[in-house]
Symmetry: C2
Subunit: 408 residues, 2 copies
């Protein structure tokens, strides 16, 4: 693994102050799965009755723990539950041994913590294709069980990092019927980020009361406009996992509650943006806003073509308002576009209007916008009402440095 | 434009010795379209009766000269014809002014050279979105007409370069019925290279006798497995143009002739490989060979997902046989794959067999292959008989350097 010496320039000033979620406890350990001198296993225990919803990578080569989680979602939710995550090894492309490792770990967690094995969810993140040394994880389970603490979510965020340069957390609280419902989430991810799913690993906890069906529907809906609307390098992980757990400890039901849904969306978007801001080598955070497309899906196709274009991402790194490359990306996306209806903005500067450079456009104005760290590119197709917003980062020497010797 | 100081390390030792094609003459000029101190306009005149076939970008924002060429293909072919190409400005996203520039240039060429305007084909390559100063081109037409010479194809290859670090040429000769038929071609392109079309600009000339229909069918067939099977950065130009002109001067008809088709394929593949070898920042030439897919189209989808993956391209730059990233790319491609049937090779080294690391695989062996400049990645899906071969290059600091300040 390349030595990561610098925290992303786009990182938040500090890890946020996250509320304790009643019904959730955490512990972390340095199990030596691969890394030395840092924590690499996180165990979260969830109170009896916690409902768990999830969204996963659509990769056809997805890892054993992902397949195991997918099989378990929607099962009985009366007992306690557990989430165990290790970093350093993705347990992906590891054949029958990988399946056996998941079986061994989930059985051991079930036995140690008194949780049904059907309620033990695991994720693994790190190198693909190397056998996961499950015994290093099971060897620390007693200690992980003993150390459980409701106040350790930041430590959990740190234990699941791989090439991340900062731990990622987000929170929201909403008042419903005079009571406070809290949401706290953590995420990891900085490379191999693209839909679907965008983020490597995300765990969100709430003390809301939610049926599994309603929670799953809400999570799926918002994953599409948050974690599935970001890209760092167009590459899709074999391990991407988002789990949302509702312990019910607040006593407040949020099925169909709009305020809760807005709050959850906010937490998911915040974590999604943090993943982009930790994009490998990123120096700019980029929002791509496409409007006027024939459909929302077409708008997203255009937006992702722009967000994934190496020529656009390098132009942003070079602070060059190179709108010709935006035209190129729209043209290649495959979704409908009419060159002579197309308008393009950098920040608030309209650079091209209906297929031609805007009257009075001065490149110095757009260039000034490009010097910031928050870049906005707007494209209006002029054809319909379809719209989409996606987020990405620039493509810099840092990306090459990190990825040309990840395993060395 | 960034200063290109170094020729690609993958460049051929010298421009090849191309045969004169009877019925084709060339001239070049420094018209100052954008660049200073170099030639930037090329005019080729084609003998009466020359048939012209073409393949073009599928971009929905394609440039005015491309639309003009597409409209003219398949028209009457009894008179003389002309191909005029400028570098420095793509005349793309230039609105009605762009169309007018094409009209002005083709009319002037027709008048100066005594060619029907319907037989004048133009291409423009360079920056997008800036009005093309057509008058700088028409101002040098008299001289371009006067200087026509059959032996100037290398100068033509130089005049059409933009970020290219070397001019690209290829040739073949075949004996048919005791007579020699010659093919000579030139190409330019190093960035914004992806299907469809892969190559920016390609012009191939032959003295064969060919009907337009037969020539077009042959060119389309082979474009798919040559220029549409290469990628540098997944970005698709608004200007990509391939024109093949058959003057008939040899008196040998090649309609349905297999030997000619093989020779033409060879010239097209050679030029396609040279474009990849001049990929911006390239230090490795990479062949991706996918077999065992459900269909040829699925094989190509997998091959292109591998060839376009930034994580794989940076691993190749780092000489890292990171086959886990190949698994990832196959998984994300969207085409059918079964993790447990997948086998992967680097060079002749089988690194993964049926979903798991190969018995006896030693990373040092694969690492030795990665140190070369010709890298071969083989993937067998184990599902069917679909196959595809595509070519790409690695992703290096050089790509970032060239593209982060192209316009500065």
């Amino acid at each position: 693994m390349a030595t990561i010496t610098k925290v992303s320039p786009l990182a938040p000033a500090a890890f946020p102050d996250l509320p304790v979620i009643d019904g959730v406890t955490f512990a972390t350990m340095a199990a030596g799965v691969k890394y030395q001198g840092r924590t690499d296993v996180m165990l979260a225990l969830l109170a009896p009755g916690t409902t768990v919803a999830g969204v996963f990578t659509k990769s056809s080569t997805r890892a054993a723990p992902v397949l195991d989680c997918q099989a378990k979602l929607g099962g009985p939710s009366d007992g306690a539950a557990a989430i165990l995550v290790n970093s350093g090894n993705a347990n992906a492309f590891t054949g029958k041994g990988g399946v056996a490792a998941v079986e061994a770990i989930t059985a051991a967690v079930a036995q140690t913590c008194g949780v049904e094995q059907e309620r033990v969810f695991t994720s693994s993140t790190g190198v693909i294709g190397e056998p996961l040394p499950a015994e290093r994880i099971t060897a620390v389970l007693d200690r992980l069980h003993r150390d459980q603490n409701p106040d350790q979510i930041e430590a959990a965020a740190q234990a699941i990092m791989t090439t991340d340069t900062f731990p990622k957390g987000a929170m929201a609280q909403v008042e419903i019927d005079g009571k406070t419902v809290s949401i706290a989430g953590i995420a990891k991810g900085s490379g191999m980020i693209a839909p679907d799913m965008a983020t490597m690993l995300v765990y969100i906890f709430t003390d809301a009361v939610a049926s599994q069906n309603a929670l799953q529907a809400m999570v799926t809906r918002h994953a599409d406009r948050t974690f599935n609307s970001i890209t760092v390098d167009s590459d899709t992980s074999t391990s991407d996992t988002l789990l949302v757990a509702a312990t019910g400890a607040s006593g407040v039901s949020i099925d169909g509650n709009a305020a809760f849904e807005v709050a959850l969306h906010g937490v998911m978007q915040d974590l999604a943006h943090q993943v982009v801001k930790d994009g490998e080598g990123a120096t700019k955070f980029v929002e791509i806003n496409v409007t006027g497309a024939t459909t929302d899906a077409d708008a997203k196709t255009h937006a992702m073509a722009i967000a994934n274009s190496p020529l656009i991402k390098t132009a942003i790194a070079g602070e060059d308002p190179n709108w010709g490359r935006v035209v190129m990306a729209v043209g290649k996306s495959g979704a409908p576009a009419d060159r002579d209806l197309l308008s393009i903005r950098f920040g608030d500067i309209e650079v091209a209007t209906k297929g031609f450079v805007s009257p009075g456009y001065a490149e110095a104005d757009a260039a000034a916008h490009m010097k910031g760290t928050d870049i906005r590119i707007g494209v209006d197709l002029g054809m319909g009402t379809g719209a989409s917003t996606v987020w990405t980062c620039d493509l810099t020497h840092g990306y090459i440095e990190i990825n040309a010797d990840y395993r060395s």
